[in-house]
Amino acid sequence: MAESNAVEIRDVVKVFGFGEFAFSAVDHASIAIRKNEFFTLLGPSGCGKTTLLRLIAGFEFPTSGEIILNGEDIGTMPPFKRPINTVFQSYALFPHMTVAENIGFGLTMLGRPKQEVRDRVAAMLKLVRMENLAGRRTSQISGGQQQRVALARALAPQPKVLLLDEPLSALDYKLRKDMQIELKRLQGETGITFIFVTHDQEEALTMSDRIAVMSAGKILQVDSPRAIYDAPADRFVADFIGETNFLSGRIGSVTDGIAHVDTAMAGRISATLPRDFVAEGDVTVVLRPEHAALCDADDPAACQTTGTLENIVYFGTDTHYHVRLGDGETQFMLREQNKPLQRQRFSVGDRVGILFEPNAARVLRN
């Protein structure tokens, strides 16, 4: 099965500093990134995304662990020997060269014949739709165009893996959306494995085949965007991706994979128990705001819990409701999609019920 992996990171640790200042920027990380995959590293600022990328590129060397490419540990190989290219956040285009010279640089360094370099540069310019700017200096083109040149330059030598460190963060909103589509298209057309770094969860969810969520140097979960969103492995992932309600309590009983959890704020609620979860002790129930709905508080059979409606925020496509739960402290969020000509059923101050399917809520360990 090792053949289907583009890069495999095995128990990699990267320590910066010495003695009492020593600190692990990457902490026992293991990921297998598949061939032809759009893989995203997602996590808050300072969690070690760039460090992990630099380890794969060869600008840093791991303190321990292995980085496997083509069945070989490349952990200590210098960057110029790795068939891996990088799109830098600052683009790092060579200012003394033209667009075409920038794109051809990698192939020239590999000692490819001039004709081949020319053909490939022309093909790359076509791929990123910049044919008419080949002779320009890189200082004479716009930020979006520089971005494309950086991409073309990194793709030209046909690397096994392309690394992209927040390549879109310097672009404005509109251009960013365009480039997201462009990146997906390029990945599909070239068939090269992309490892993409971002701290924008929406970007990660829309673009990736799989996502690794990182925190404090550790890999918390590697999964498809849907699985990350619908079935977060722990509290951090649930909190980091999208909005979530947290209800903590103790498991009372379990029937058919559904746990009945006794909570201080919402009474007894039912939620899905993940497979191989040891059902005991203190747990947290997580629930997405759009997976819950308001219901009549006087109909306890239909509602999981009740509270007081505190706030209604209208967003055009949907409406957000903030409900103060029974304990008077916890605020519960709900999101309902707006339908045409819908009448407002509840108003601020009303006692309301909250309704959700047990399989929309998940039990997580604390």
């Binding site: 600008f59 960057p79 110029f80 003394h96 640089f105 360094m109 990194a154 030598p157």
Partner: protein, 266 residues
């Protein structure tokens, strides 16, 4: 509406500026003016003539000293620039470490140690070597000039390197450039204006040196400045002015060449 503070609008600013410019440039203007004096001495001005320039060009000693100056400056500035470039790369393209500041100080030592001290030290040191080896050529002057030119070449090169984005070199390495190729195709072309500035500065400093040259030179190894110093001790004729004016012209040319070459680059 409050006016923004501007040093240019302070009373007396213009006056002081003008006085300073006069103090700096008036003597030079007078010197150049008297180079065209047709009289035999500097005491009176008797009309325009180029005779002292002609005299200077006929003077074998002046020609020899000039050629020697250019030879020494050319070789010393080149050697110093190469050494300074290597030193600048070694001290900027590294993570800061204990002892790095000491290295800066070490490289810039000639700027801090009084020139006369270096001169005396070299005199004694080279005297020994001269006895041991029997060699008496220009090598000593070239070695001495190279040594004190290094910091002048180093400063602009280092400044340029520090302003240069080091991710460019990483990008080169990422695109399969070996360390040498990354230097050759990325660092060097971008560093070139700094190297040129360093070379020009070293060249002019070497050309201008009196103190160390005076102590280190053997008999018959006068450079233009030490020759002029020797002449002025005897008699002052407008020939000295003519030589000085030509010297000035050369310096101006060096600076102009530098600006022209630099403007073409990024």
């Amino acid at each position: 509406m409050a006016r923004r503070f501007s040093v240019q609008r302070q009373t007396g600013f213009a006056t002081i500026a003008i006085i300073c410019f006069f103090a700096l440039y008036l003597p030079i203007v007078v010197l150049v003016f008297y180079a065209f004096n047709s009289a035999d001495s500097l005491s009176s001005f008797q009309g325009l003539s180029l005779r002292w320039f002609a005299r200077a060009f006929e003077n074998r000693q002046v020609i020899d000293a000039s050629i020697r100056s250019l030879q020494i400056a050319g070789v010393a500035a080149t050697a110093a620039t190469i050494a300074a470039t290597m030193a600048a790369i070694a001290t900027t393209r590294t993570e800061p470490y204990r002892g790095l500041t000491l290295k800066y100080a070490f490289i810039n030592q000639p700027l801090m140690v009084p020139e006369i001290v270096t001169a005396v030290a070299l005199l004694i040191f080279f005297a020994r070597i001269k006895i041991w080896t029997g060699y008496n050529g220009l090598g000593y002057l070239i070695a001495a000039h190279t040594a004190f030119c290094v910091p002048f070449a180093y400063l602009p090169i280092r400044a340029r390197l520090e302003n240069m984005d080091s991710t460019l070199e990483k990008a080169a390495a990422d695109l399969y450039a070996t360390p040498w190729n990354a230097f050759r195709y990325v660092t060097l072309p971008l560093l070139w204006p700094g190297i040129l500035a360093g070379f020009m500065l070293a060249f002019v400093i070497s050309l201008d040196d009196v103190v160390i040259t005076e102590f280190v030179k053997s008999a018959g190894q006068d450079t233009l400045p030490t020759y002029m110093l020797g002449q002025i001790r005897r008699t002052i004729t407008p020939e000295m002015n003519a030589i000085s004016a030509l010297f000035l012209l050369l310096s101006i040319c060096v600076v102009i060449v530098f600006f022209v070459v630099n403007r073409k680059r990024v």
